[in-house]
Symmetry: C2
Subunit: 446 residues, 2 copies
Amino acid sequence: MRVVIIGSGAGGLSTASNIRKYNKEIEIIVITKDKYVAYSPCAIPYVLSGKIKSFDEIIMHDIEYYLDKDINILTETEVIEISPTKNLIKYKRLDDTKIKELKYDYLVIATGGIPAVPPIPGVNLEGVFTVRTLEDGIKIKKWAENCEHATVIGAGLIGIEMAYGLKHLIPEVDIIEMASQVVPRSLDPEMAKIIQKYLEKLGVNVLVGKTVKKIIGEKRVNAVKLNNKKINTDMVLLATGVKPNISLAKKAGIKIGKWGIKVNEKMQTSVRNIYAVGDCVEVKDFITGENTLSPLGSTAVRQAKVAAKNIIGKKCRFRPVLNAMVSRIGNLEFGSVGMTEINAKYHNIEAVCGMSKALTRARYYPGAERIYVKIVCNKDGKIIGCQVIAKEGVSERIDAMSIAISQHLKCSDLCEMEFSYAPPLSTVVDPFVPACEEIVEKLQNG
Amino acid sequence: MRVVIIGSGAGGLSTASNIRKYNKEIEIIVITKDKYVAYSPCAIPYVLSGKIKSFDEIIMHDIEYYLDKDINILTETEVIEISPTKNLIKYKRLDDTKIKELKYDYLVIATGGIPAVPPIPGVNLEGVFTVRTLEDGIKIKKWAENCEHATVIGAGLIGIEMAYGLKHLIPEVDIIEMASQVVPRSLDPEMAKIIQKYLEKLGVNVLVGKTVKKIIGEKRVNAVKLNNKKINTDMVLLATGVKPNISLAKKAGIKIGKWGIKVNEKMQTSVRNIYAVGDCVEVKDFITGENTLSPLGSTAVRQAKVAAKNIIGKKCRFRPVLNAMVSRIGNLEFGSVGMTEINAKYHNIEAVCGMSKALTRARYYPGAERIYVKIVCNKDGKIIGCQVIAKEGVSERIDAMSIAISQHLKCSDLCEMEFSYAPPLSTVVDPFVPACEEIVEKLQNG
């Protein structure tokens, strides 16, 4: 049996490793346009910031590592066509014109996402970048060395991480966001304000509610034009989102949904022996039940496990997503899971919210840091979202709330929950509790 | 209406504060033998270690703080008798013989615990201590200043925290534990071994599987006698557990259970208008359904909220406990929630366990630290316990598992759970997952 996997990102390589973990016989071939495989693209901003010493460090494994596991990887190779009726793909090396064919028993599409480039004049100028691959990271770092001013367009997660990273290489960094706040998809305004202030404290200029109308330059960028002003700049980074890379699947007649490749709980596409995982697929949202995107490395890895298990005949399903995300800027961590209040409104869900501002440890214990918690419930008191900002423990707290939301817990349940306590590690009343109590009271008082 | 509260620990004072939070009219009187109130006894070891500068810092509030809230506190005052039929108590100042009476509408017994002193000859010698109150802490610190060698008897939580604290004041510290491991109530042997090694690395001599037969000395302690040897020592700390302080309640005819004062879900005793909270009550264990003790500050605080709400007529219940505990020795944090494998065996629960050794952050991210996770399931795969050791994020992880266990999650559920990921905060596969996968496989293979 042969499994062919298109794409060497988190989704593709995890599928390969998972199949091999459970089965030593299956032939596994990964085909990728990338030169480097098994690196962590999420870590690129931290190489720019210098926190991680070099790009080499974020390469987790080399080709030999996979060869040792009897996983074949064809790098710098492009799949041209999928032929579901013949169970074969056509492919060619990037530096060659010769097209080859390869039969498969199972095919896994893990083609990932491609940066969504906004329709702004000038996006093709030299010095305008998107960031997706390690090579993008290397090019950006090199270009940044000679810059006095950089402009990041889009203050989503990648935008602010990159702005923070670039600030370590470039004296002036502006981040320009169309929405009236940073991280609009994952944080509510009052939480976003904390992140914005922190970014500003770190020296990044944050411009929210502003649109870049034009990127100006002859051959290379030298300014961006906003509604009412022009800002000279040496570099533009487009951090305006990612869209699923679905062209191959579409051409092959595989069913595409509203957002990406349609898959069932097994990660199986509309074609029985073709699976798809990662940023190229659409998933179900746990709260709304609607289809959505979840372009996260952790999502891809979980999907890969599901696809691999199903291919080898084990039962496993991929659950609707809560889009648990976390990030870190400087020393500040923040995260979000489920719905924000704003997203709830957008989906016509009546939200009742509670906030708490507390400490991460007993107030007298050295290193106790401020923590901000926001909990979002629906009108029945069921928890549908949570946002946390602190200098520590954010990821674990988001995970705790991911478990709570997935189990349909109410804010009243969390008020009665048993949390651990020791002065060096936590506070005697967990910060989640007062936020939940606020909601309980709001609900009681109508 | 008047509420009288006996005891000024976490249970007593939290009951007072909670009643006042919801009701400004009720007269509240707290009676306590203690001189200092509203301090954090759990923090005493960290004052000894010097991490917290002085005992003053762990006093959260003074008497005036409570007076401002219209909460009266009678310190250094002892309740002599409770008369449930007359709704009154008799009390006297410690330095006086005059007995006074006080009527109550509701009485809250928050008399806490008293150190369980083992029946070893010599426990009354000078230089033999127990630790419970701030005054104990002050006395111990003073005595320790002139010691060359200290012996801590009992390697439970308090024992190892105190041994670690004392090591900063005394050149040689032995900790002697009857069981074959440290922290026998909350950790399984392989996890306890990590803590033991760390303690030893910090210079504490750990003697497990050893019993102190006698404490030797004329007026003051000068040695401890074990089965086969004598160890010279200048100080002995008895950290051999705590037992509920139930004498007042017992004398008043209030129903006592196998372990402590019997209460219902409202924290109401067998007498309608008498409540009890904190270390003096027995609670229901979530896993076994049997009665047990939960002598934790966080338990007392949650019980206090329940008692207060019920006294003022709001609905609130105290749920069965999972005994979530966390601690920190040096830079190492550890915690446990629910059943250990050993405790499960003791309760005739067939346990299936999984372990994982992973990292707290992406392996290339500076500050990534080792994390050890053990998960305990019953034979249906339902999670009944979890232990975590790491240098960060332990408390939040224990809380996440407290939520998971309280919701009857299975290990297979956790394998499919959505965990957050960013290289500076976490790993792409959460350490809980491989531990749960190990259990799933064990269960599948019978």
